[in-house]
Structure formats: structure tokens, C-alpha cells
Amino acid sequence: MLELIAVKGIYILMVFAAAAAFASSLLPNLFHGALALAAVLLAVAGLYLSLGAEFLAMVQILVYVGAVMTLVIYAVMLTGRLEETVTPSGRIQRAAAGVSCAIFFVLVCGVLLSTNWPAAPGGNPLPSVKDLGIDLMKRHVFPFEVLGILLFAVLIGALAAARREKS
């Protein structure tokens, strides 16, 4: 019985996230868009939890909602006027985009439904945080280090780009 509630919860979460995703694309006010994105991120974190990836959910919240969204909103506040609303793009553009997205969706849906995914697993235990850490340090240690360097470089790059010129 509890599972049923959980499943219902997940579907509700999905619907909420989908709505928030479309809201973030359609809302004229960019700030609302950004917040809708935050809502989507939290929903996805919830989905990660439902998929058993706790560490990932927490990382998602910490990195995305904590840092990236703050950055985005900082940018929105710095660039947008206090009450500016964003002008939506031309009618043809929106129509064309809508049509192409719809086609894309239909195509991939076709693919999804036609292939038979392996049965929803009950058995194998989910990797715990420890397994994740070990795997990160063993098999994926190289990308991990490269990632560190990349983030360091982006840090400096972003500083240099956004810095107000001295002269």
C-alpha cells in the first residue's frame, strides 16, 4: 500500500516538474523562469531519490539549486531592469520551434516505446555512497581530476570575463 502512495507521489512529482519545465520556457518574466527551473531541479532531485541515488540528489540540490541557480539569478538581477519583462520571440519563430519540438518528441517516443527495456529490476542492491566514492576514486579517477582542473580554469575564466576593466 505504501508503495502505491509512493508511486502516486512520483507521478505527481513528474507532472509538477513537467509543468515547471514548460513554465520556465514560456514565462515572460525571466526571474519566474529561473525559479521554475529551480522547481524542476528540486523535482528531479526528488526523482533521483526515488531511483535510489541519494548522494546524487543531495549533490544536485547543493550544486544546482545552491550554486548554479544563484549564479543565474545573480545574472538575471544584474542584467534585467527591475521590472523588465522579456519580449517573447516572433510568432513564426515560436511556431517553428513548437512544431520541430513536437516532431522530435514523437520520433523519440516512437523509439522509446518500441524498444523493450530490461525488466524493472528488483534484485541487485543499489550502489551506496561508499560504492560511489570508491568507484569515483578508482575507475573514474582521471575524469575526476580533469574535472577539478576544468572547474579551476572556468573559475579563473569567468572572473576574467566578468571583471570590470580597470582602464
Binding site: F104, L107, V108
Partner: protein, 613 residues
């Protein structure tokens, strides 16, 4: 060191060194350049005299170095000293020396003094090198340098419009001749395989006559005609008088113009292969002689008259070669060098003395300029062909050859010699005889300084005595010495009588026209004179211009076809590309969203394809 000095090419080396010296240190040396080049020509004269005696004693001297070697193809060039070239060398270096001494006096106050002398020495070097050359290659190079020097010297006073134009015309005319010579030369070398004079004759004899060789011969004659100003190319010599008088004396009387004849003599064996070639040469030579003799009568200036007389004498020499008697032509060449240089120097003195050379304003200079008038008299009489003087003997040789060849040519040449006698005597009478009152500057005229008159006198003596070695009195020693061709039958009295009568008639005519019949018949002959002038001079000029304009239009036509076809072909793809680019540019609208949309559409396309609907 001594043997090196006496090397056959050293007569060329001295003037070359002098030319270089003058050219480089010209500014510092100033007046002394005259002494340097005269000394150089003196040295080359002395060496050539020594060489003359050696060749006379030991016979032909020959030596050559390998000029160019490519695989089995080898070109050698060097010197060939046989009696012909040795004697010509002596004559040329002697005349050159005298003229350089004379020039020192006449060109004294000219600002470009050093440039004059360095070019003159360069010319002497080229002339001597040409004479001593053993093959057509070195000969052709010297030939070209001479052409250059004549251009520089004619256009010496390049500030003067006329001088520059004359130099230009002379250079172009001779260039055309050189072109033909080069073609002929190449044809010869390709067919006979060699350019050496000695080898040339043997190979030609071995090969026998052929259209190719006769064409080559004709081309060589055209080259000689260009340089020696035969009929179609004679237009440049009268204008070349714009240059300073020593230049006219040296180049346009004695040496350069003679080079053409010397070339014909050297390549005579090839010319002789085909009788038709000889007949062409003879015809052209005679025609030039007659025509220019008539023109000489009309001209009013001393130097122009002398120029025409040179043309006619050269015509006679060419004709003589045409009559297949190069020896007589050479003998006349030598004597002509002496008295023609003398006449030109005389004209120079007159010009130097009274500043003008227009016959109408001259007259009665005999008394103030005794020496010049005396020498001038000897020169003009030699030109006329008075018996004891050199002119008679050499002309008589030519007339004998003409007589042997065909009576028609004999008559024509007799007419020429009569006309020659007529205008040379008239010239003398108009300048030096008659009343002094006619021209204002006649009174101021004074004898020129010693440095100018001495060369005049020596040439006077030479002009008088040069004929004797080739005369019967010395048993035709000169002809046998150069040994090119046997002398004609001296015994034919008709020839002897004909020349004597022609000379006498000419002198009498001159005396009459200058004295009692002055101005008689001038008007009647004016019309004919102008027609003659037009035919003789303007026609070839306009022909040349026509030829030039023809070339120009041909050039323009070629240019536009080139631009149209070639460039067009190249430009076509470029133009097409630009059109296409203009079309495609619209796609790049600058809006990121369009690009995104396009990219996304592509993705969908791929996807659809991937799922092979």
C-alpha cells in the same frame, strides 16, 4: 708581358682601358681624358703596325678560347689576323688616333668632355675587336657595342631635340639591320655548325648552294645594309650629322659604316654560293650609289652633302662586292676612309671657325684658312677621282669590276662617279673660293689651332698617297697583299678612259656652276629635286612609320584578345562564386535562434533517417 702586349686583341684592349679610365675618373681627369684616349689609340696604332709587318712576314695568326661549352656543343671565339684584317686594323687605328687628336681641339669647351672621350674610346675598342674577330660571334658582339656607341655619340648633345631624335632613328634603323644579321647568323650556325670565318668558307663550299643558305646570306646582307646604310636603311645617316663633327668623321665616314662592307667581305664565300644573292647586292648597291649621289647635289649643308657622298661611295663598294670583287671594294674602303675623314675634319674646321655650315652663307674662306682649304682641296679631288690621288685608283678598280659584270652597271657607276666629282668640286668652290663678302662671319674666320690642322694635313698626305700601293705602278701590291680576289684586267682602256672623262666632266661642271652659271637652272631642277628628295628620304621614313603603326595595332589587337579570352576565363569562376555567395548570405541572419532551429531541424532529419521510416 711583351708578347701579351703584342697580342692581336691588344689594339682593342688599350682603348677599352682608356674608356674605362675616362668613365670612372672622368670628373677628376677633366681635360686630361683627351690625352689618355689619344695615347691609347696611338699605342693600338703602333701595335697594329707591328702586327701588319708580322702577318706580312709570318702569314696568318690565329688563336681562340672556348667561349661556351655545353656537352658536345662548343662555341669558340678568338682572333684571326690575316693581311685583310691587319691592314684594316692599321687603317682604322690610324684614322681613329688622328680624329681623337683633332677632337681634343674641337670639343675643348664642351662641358661633357669626359663622357665624349670615354664613349669614343669604347667605340675604338669595339671597332678594333670587330676587325680582329675570328668568328661571327665576337664580331656580332663588337657590332652591337658599336651600334650603342653610335647612338650615344649621335645623341651626344641630347638636350637638342633633333640630336635625340636622330640618335633614336639611327639606333632603331641599325637595330633592324642587326636583327636580320642575327637571324642570318643563327641560320648559318645551325646549318653549317660553325661561325668561324675560315671554317665557314670550307663548310659552305662543301655543302653547296641551298635556299636556306641563300636566305641566310640575304639576311646577312640586310644586316650589313643596316649598318652601312644601304638603300632601305639609309635614312639615318644624314640625320646622324647632328652629332659632333669628329663623331661624324670617325664613325660615319671611316669606320662604322665600313664595318658592313667588311662583314660582306668576310662572309663573301657564303654570299658567292648563290649568284642571285650577288645580283641583289649589286643592284641595291648601285641604286643606292646613284640615288644618294643625286641627293648630295641638292643638300645645302656641308656635312649633309658629305653624308650623302659617303652613302653613294658605300653603295659603290657594296655593288663592287655584288660584282664578286671584294678586293677592289676593300681597297676603295681604305682610300675612302682617308679622304672622307679629311673632308669631315675640314667641315669641322669651317664649323669651328665660323659657326655655321650652311653653304649659302659660306664662301671665300680660302684666304683666312689656308691650310684647311688646301687639305680640303686634296680630299675633294681624291673623292672626285683625279688620277694621281687615291680615289682614282680604287674607283677605277670598282669600275673595272662593274665593267666585267655588266655594261648597264658600268654606265650607272660612271654616272655616279661623274656626279661625285661634280658635287665634291662644287663643295670646295662654294666654301673656299668666291668673294668673301657673301657672309658676315667670313671675315671673323681664322685658322683653327694647330692641334686641329695637323691631323688634317697628315690625312691630306695619306689621301693623296694611299692609292699608290694599289695602282699598277706598284703592280697592284695592295690587292695581292690582301689576297682576297685577283685584280681585274687592268689593260682595258675603256674603263680607264671612262673614269677619266667622268672625273673631268664633273670638275668642269662644278667650276661652271660655281662661277659664271651660278643659280642657272636651279629653279627647273628644283621640282625634280624635291621629287627626288621625297622619293629618297620621305618614302622610307613614312614606310618605317607605317611599319611601326602596323606593329602597334597588331599589339593592341593581341592585348584585347588576351584580356577577353584568357582573363575572362580566369575571372569567370570568381564572378560565379560571388553571385552564389550573395544568394547564400541571406541564410546567415545573425539571429542565434535561427541557427539553433536549423541545427535542431538537422537533428530531426538525421533521427528520422536513422529510424529509416
Amino acid at each position: 708581358m711583351v708578347t701579351l702586349l703584342l697580342h692581336p686583341l691588344s689594339p682593342a684592349a688599350f682603348p677599352l682601358a682608356a674608356a674605362a679610365l675616362n668613365f670612372i675618373f672622368g670628373k677628376q681627369l677633366k681635360a686630361k681624358t683627351a690625352w689618355i684616349s689619344s695615347a691609347a689609340s696611338l699605342m693600338s696604332f703602333a701595335v697594329s703596325i707591328f702586327l701588319l709587318t708580322r702577318t706580312a712576314a709570318h702569314g696568318v695568326m690565329q688563336g681562340s678560347i672556348i667561349w661556351l661549352e655545353a656537352g658536345n656543343f662548343k662555341i669558340t671565339s678568338g682572333f684571326l689576323l690575316d693581311p685583310l684584317s691587319a691592314s684594316f686594323l692599321a687603317v682604322v687605328s690610324l684614322v681613329g688616333m688622328l680624329i681623337q687628336i683633332y677632337a681634343a681641339g674641337s670639343m675643348k669647351d664642351d662641358p661633357e668632355f669626359t663622357r665624349f672621350y670615354s664613349t669614343l674610346s669604347l667605340f675604338m675598342a669595339a671597332m678594333t675587336a670587330l676587325i680582329a674577330a675570328d668568328g661571327l660571334l665576337l664580331f656580332f658582339m663588337a657590332w652591337e657595342i658599336m651600334g650603342l656607341c653610335s647612338f650615344l655619340l649621335i645623341g651626344f648633345w641630347f638636350q637638342k631635340e633633333a640630336a635625340a631624335k636622330a640618335a633614336h632613328k639611327a639606333f632603331l634603323a641599325t637595330r633592324l639591320g642587326d636583327l636580320c644579321l642575327l637571324l642570318g647568323l643563327l641560320m648559318l650556325s645551325s646549318s653549317l655548325g660553325t661561325l668561324q670565318f675560315t671554317a665557314l668558307s670550307e663548310k659552305a663550299a662543301a655543302l653547296g648552294a641551298s635556299a636556306w643558305l641563300s636566305a641566310a646570306a640575304l639576311l646577312i646582307f640586310a644586316g650589313a645594309a643596316g649598318k652601312s646604310a644601304q638603300f632601305p636603311f639609309h635614312i639615318w645617316l644624314p640625320d646622324a650629322m647632328e652629332g659632333p663633327t669628329p663623331v661624324s668623321a670617325l664613325i660615319h665616314a671611316a669606320t662604322m659604316v665600313a664595318a658592313g662592307i667588311y662583314l660582306l667581305i668576310r662572309t663573301f664565300p657564303v654570299l658567292a654560293l648563290d649568284a642571285r644573292v650577288l645580283s641583289v647586292i649589286a643592284a641595291v648597291g648601285t641604286f643606292t650609289a646613284v640615288l644618294t649621289a643625286l641627293l648630295a647635289l641638292r643638300s645645302q649643308e656641308i656635312k649633309k652633302t658629305l653624308a650623302f657622298s659617303t652613302l653613294s661611295q658605300l653603295g659603290m663598294m657594296a655593288a663592287c662586292i655584288g660584282f664578286s670583287n671584294p678586293g677592289a671594294a676593300f681597297f676603295h674602303l681604305v682610300t675612302h676612309a682617308f679622304f672622307k675623314a679629311l673632308l669631315f675634319m675640314g667641315a669641322g674646321n669651317v664649323l669651328h671657325a665660323c659657326g655655321t655650315q650652311n653653304l649659302g652663307r659660306l664662301g671665300g674662306l680660302g684666304r683666312p684658312m689656308k691650310l684647311t682649304s688646301g687639305a680640303f682641296l686634296v680630299g675633294s679631288l681624291a673623292l672626285a677621282g683625279l688620277p694621281p690621288l687615291s680615289g682614282f685608283w680604287s674607283k677605277e678598280g670598282i669600275l673595272a669590276a662593274a665593267h666585267g659584270y655588266s655594261p648597264f652597271y658600268f654606265g650607272a657607276l660612271l654616272l655616279t662617279s661623274f656626279l661625285t666629282a661634280l658635287y665634291s668640286a662644287r663643295l670646295y668652290l662654294q666654301i673656299f673660293e668666291g668673294s668673301a663678302s657673301r657672309s658676315a662671319d667670313a671675315e671673323t674666320a681664322r685658322e683653327c689651332p694647330k692641334s686641329m690642322t695637323i691631323p688634317l694635313l697628315t690625312l691630306g698626305v695619306l689621301a693623296a698617297a694611299a692609292g699608290i700601293p694599289g695602282s699598277p705602278w706598284m703592280g697592284y701590291f695592295f690587292q695581292t697583299f690582301i689576297g682576297i680576289s685577283p685584280h681585274g684586267d687592268p689593260a682595258s682602256y675603256a674603263v680607264l678612259a671612262g673614269s677619266l672623262i667622268a672625273c673631268a666632266l664633273g670638275l668642269a661642271g662644278a667650276w661652271l656652276s660655281a662661277g659664271p652659271w651660278r643659280g642657272l637652272g636651279l629653279k627647273e631642277t628644283a621640282g625634280a629635286g624635291r621629287f627626288l628628295e621625297k622619293a629618297g628620304m620621305e618614302l622610307p621614313n613614312s614606310a618605317a612609320r607605317l611599319f611601326a603603326s602596323g606593329l602597334k595595332t597588331a599589339g593592341r589587337a593581341a592585348a584585347c584578345t588576351d584580356r577577353l579570352l584568357l582573363d575572362g576565363a580566369v575571372m569567370l569562376p570568381g564572378v560565379l562564386l560571388q553571385l552564389a555567395a550573395a544568394g547564400f548570405r541571406k541564410i546567415q541572419s545573425g539571429f542565434i535562434l535561427h541557427y539553433l532551429l536549423a541545427a535542431f531541424a538537422a537533428v530531426i532529419g538525421l533521427l528520422a533517417a536513422g529510424m529509416n521510416f
